[in-house]
């Protein structure tokens, strides 16, 4: 009896230290539930049955339950992006697509709520550079977003296609950078048969290629580039976590399955 009680008493501070040094809140809560249970055992061995019953039922069952109810998603992950069919698209009242699925999983992994805002391309870079949003997406290509933002390592290789047509150029490249968000302008121009000279990344090109492209010249520009997400500069920690999460997705094959679901 004394040995058992001594062993339990030695175990108590160990579990307490373990509980208070956990990084995840859920682990700390469950460790404190275990602590309450062992404390109830100590009370039982100290011949206090009333106290043991009360401590066990309250500390192990109710307190754990109430904490778990309270640590519901306690933060927000704000994502801005441009609407790109296949990657980030509206599905009725909600948003879907490959990037949305990746970012929703990442938000669940962090324990945050996901909030997605669909804006135009320049606003994406501006919002992320100012730190108003946590992550920027929407078919952004690595190296094409300018200074002031961090990029994760590319998660999906893509190619750049150049669609051009001789004649007047009604829709032109807005700058020297690649793949833009003026997909609606491009599709309108293709439908209308106007002149065009744009570079598009794969997802946008897939969307445009469903239209009738006779009369247009399509070149695939050499070189590889990747889709990426951008983050405000200074958030290295989240950049690391997002990169690690994307690598985990790629290694487990989940990324390929998701690409198969959304982009083909």
């Amino acid at each position: 009896m004394t040995i058992a009680r001594g062993a339990l008493l030695v175990l108590l501070p160990v579990i307490a230290i373990l509980a208070l040094t956990r990084r995840r809140r859920l682990a700390a809560i469950i460790a404190m539930g275990l602590f309450s249970l062992i404390l109830a055992g100590v009370y039982l061995l100290a011949h206090a049955p009333d106290v043991a019953i009360t401590e066990a039922s309250i500390g192990a069952a109710l307190v754990t339950f109430v904490y778990v109810l309270a640590i519901r998603r306690t933060g927000r992950l704000v994502v801005v992006g441009t609407e790109v069919p296949g990657l980030l698209q509206r599905e009725g009242a909600r948003v879907g697509g490959l990037e949305h699925e990746i970012l929703a999983g990442f938000a669940r992994h962090l324990g945050l709520d996901l909030v997605v805002r669909l804006v135009s391309r320049e606003d994406v870079v501006a919002a992320v550079a100012q730190g108003e949003a946590d992550i920027g997406g929407g078919g952004l290509v690595a190296g094409g977003c300018g200074e002031g933002v961090l990029e994760t390592r590319g998660y999906l290789p893509t190619a750049v296609f150049r669609v051009s047509r001789a004649g007047q150029r009604d829709v032109e490249q807005r700058s020297d950078e690649l793949a833009r968000g003026y997909l609606n302008d491009v599709t309108d121009a293709v439908r209308g048969g106007k002149g065009l000279d744009v570079s598009l990344d794969l997802a946008r090109f897939v969307c445009v290629s469903r239209l009738d492209l006779s009369g247009y010249v399509v070149n695939r520009l050499p070189g590889e580039c990747d889709y990426t997400f951008i983050l405000p500069s200074g958030r290295e920690e989240m950049q690391r976590r997002l990169t690690r999460y994307l690598e985990g997705l790629r290694e487990s094959g989940e990324l390929d399955r998701a690409v198969g679901r959304h982009l083909t």
Binding site: D50, T54, L62, L69, R72
Partner: protein
């Protein structure tokens, strides 16, 4: 303990260790005292008629403390009701999907838990237990029910129809029971029912009534807390 300036963490640890060491060595604890307090166990049991000495103390000799502690409990539950009440029901979170396993096991476990709770409350003056433990165990049984059936259904059936109405009535009846001896010509806070033989179910005066009322009060209070937490979260 991350991202704190190192000197602060070191100083804090040093200070707390020093404080604990001081208390440990200055507080000369030699073990329990051999002689008991002025309270003899025998006289305690036969005076109050309760075999469970702990019940005898907190429901007969120090009843005043227990009444005010029940009041503190009620105020805390009232606070939860007040702050989480005005919020409407949150939008539905995807909860645990309706699982056959949970339902079946809840169906098996629920009678056991409820019977254990009632036993702890009713026999609180004879064996370990009492109003507080029994109420909490019964509330965790209701919690199991809410996990298995969904908080909405249980809330609608129990909370709004039945529990909410008797919540404050029970507190009132506890206070009335404490003052009832006045009607019989005794001092308040003493026994109303006769004390039977020590160790049997019918004994120890109004300790049984107090146990039942406090058990109900703790049961309802705990359920109210859990109900509002679940409502605030959306679903379990």
């Amino acid at each position: 303990m991350r991202r704190f300036s190192m000197p602060f963490a070191v100083w804090a640890t040093l200070f707390v260790t020093l404080f604990c060491g001081l208390v440990l060595f200055a507080f000369d604890y030699e073990g329990p005292r051999v002689d008991s307090l002025g309270l003899s166990s025998e006289s305690l049991a036969y005076d109050t008629g309760a075999a469970n000495l702990v019940s005898a103390i907190y429901l007969n000799i120090r009843l005043y403390d227990t009444l005010l502690e029940v009041l503190v409990f009620s105020v805390a539950v009232l606070g939860v009701h007040f702050y989480l009440g005005p919020r409407g029901v949150e939008e539905q979170v995807e909860g645990i999907p309706e699982s056959h396993v949970i339902r079946t096991s809840a169906g098996l476990l629920l009678p056991v838990i409820v019977v254990l709770g009632i036993h702890l409350v009713l026999f609180g003056h004879v064996s370990p237990g009492g109003g507080f433990s029994g109420g909490v165990v019964a509330a965790s049984g209701l919690l199991l029910c809410a996990v298995a059936l969904g908080a909405e259904a249980v809330g609608r059936r129990f909370h709004e129809t039945f529990l909410e109405r008797i919540e404050w009535g029970i507190l009132l009846s506890i206070l009335c029971l404490a003052c009832a001896p006045l009607a019989l010509g005794r001092l308040p806070l003493t026994d109303v029912l006769p004390q039977g033989q020590v160790g049997s179910l019918v004994s120890s005066g109004s300790i049984v009534l107090y146990n039942v009322l406090i058990g109900l009060k703790v049961f309802i209070g705990t359920w109210v807390i859990i109900h509002f937490f679940m409502r605030h979260r959306g679903e379990i």
